[in-house]
Symmetry: C2
Subunit: 291 residues, 2 copies
């Protein structure tokens, strides 16, 4: 199966299962709001990364699927809160009105809180797993999502909005804001697959390069993309006079940087004889993505 088919297949699995982890007896209006954003789609890259690794190392889907979804829950809640008027004030996300535009700000705040909380509820409900590994997964998710992880990146992003950042400050914003939650599926997959330390660390390093390449191409698309393919207003970063890899280094240098991360990520896999399907192609795919 080629990468495009593989990604489509993983996306379908996530799309079909993402809302089934919402606990019963959730108030209908809150459920509707949570489902709206959880079903809003996107590429499902984070849960796909986890499933790719877990499938290769023969972890049962009964275990890997809820864990994959817990990461997508964190990603989804962060988008709902990021879009709020007090934050990025975005009216559209993936071509659809943002959560607070449909349900109002109060419900959107609570839906975000609820989805964040549910991520940990999902992990605490896993069955047929060594509780030591279960605690490890909860630790990995909370650290990746938390105030020394993704939330740290959100703060650095806000603080840097009207400033000219240095190259290393900009890398930090992305290492935390996007990178930590892109590395989380690789860490959690390594724990579920009980990989040895060396292999696990090579996977994390792949994840770091993946995160950087992902963000740099995102900045490139923000200049070169179109509203149709991105589902959000093009040039929104520039409007906020945000530093991006493109504003900081120029388009050509940014493309070169993305390419280098792709090469280094692939090298990590090769040097450590990691044969997980799709992982190398996924990096190359980032360079050519349109959305």
């Amino acid at each position: 199966m080629d990468l495009k088919q593989g990604l489509a297949q993983y996306k379908e699995i996530i799309d079909n299962n993402i809302t089934r982890f919402i606990p019963e007896n959730c108030p209908p209006k809150l459920k509707e709001s949570m489902e709206y954003s959880l079903k809003a789609g996107g590429k499902r890259i984070r849960p796909a990364l986890l499933l790719m690794v877990c499938d290769h190392y023969k972890v049962s889907r009964e275990l890997s699927l809820p864990v994959a979804c817990s990461i997508e829950y964190i990603h989804t809640y962060s988008l709902i809160h990021d879009d709020l008027p007090a934050m990025d004030d975005d009216d559209f996300r993936r071509g659809k009105p943002t959560n607070h535009k449909v349900f109002g700000e109060a419900i959107a705040i609570l839906a975000g809180d609820g989805i964040l909380n549910t991520a940990f509820e999902i992990l605490s409900n896993l069955e047929g797993i060594d509780p030591k590994i279960q605690v490890k997964l909860i630790k990995e998710l909370s650290v990746s999502a938390g105030i020394t992880g993704m939330i740290k990146g959100q703060i650095l992003d806000i603080e840097g909005e009207e400033k000219q950042l240095t190259s290393s400050q900009l890398a930090d914003v992305h290492r935390y804001k996007t990178g930590k939650l892109l590395t989380a599926p690789l860490k959690m997959a390594a724990s579920l697959s009980k990989l040895d330390k060396e292999t696990a660390e090579a996977l994390y390093s792949y994840g770091d390069h993946f995160g950087m390449a992902f963000q740099i191409t995102d900045d490139i698309l923000d200049v070169c993309g179109s509203f149709e393919s991105l589902g959000k207003a093009v040039g929104s970063d520039e409007k906020l006079s945000k530093s991006t890899y493109v504003t900081l280094h120029g388009l050509d240098k940014a493309k070169l940087m993305a390419k280098e991360h792709v090469q280094q990520g692939i090298k990590e896999l090769e040097d450590n004889d990691i044969k997980v399907p799709y992982l190398p192609q996924l990096l190359t795919y980032l360079l050519n993505r349109k959305a």
Copy 2:
């Protein structure tokens, strides 16, 4: 030691330790915002309940203190988000400007998210505990705080704001919004103390009565209290034309209802020979509290 001294002692322990569970490398501005609300005080009733039970059953403070604080983290994040302009739009909390009034809405949203997330990070970092019990604690906290617990109550509260609620609808709002997080410390203390099922359930039932008595007296104080003692605008519920136990049943009936829950809570303890210090007096104290 009498109840007042006991409560003061537990409050001091929590006040002195509440911020030490914020992970290092948290961005300074976020840390400042989180600490502002975590240190804002309050009665620390939830963590005190957990410590009272755990101390009686000889659980080490090394374990019980972080668990107690994780519950107070959830309580604190919920207050920060509740106070936001899109929610209750409160300018003061415990006599001090609310978090978003000091740090701005964006930081307040992220501080709330960060504190919520950290609650689970704290529990995943516990050491010297059977990982099965650790997972149980995480499950208990996430269910109590989540969309079938406290957040459900917040939604019911918003939905009921401009309506005349029935007595049972009002009880539901409080059973979830306040009650679930008041029962959580008793559940988690029972797990930490490895209590038998019968004793644990009697403690939960005590917690239910405690939660109801707490909320009814809160409604009574909203009518009869003063800004000095409450630290918030008196009559704010009435301003929002919210249903309360007082608007629904009248002051005298509300006082009677509170008294009945106090008596039933004490009976649960006596019938099950639970001799945890302070628990019975704490209920009586609710009836006479001024803040």
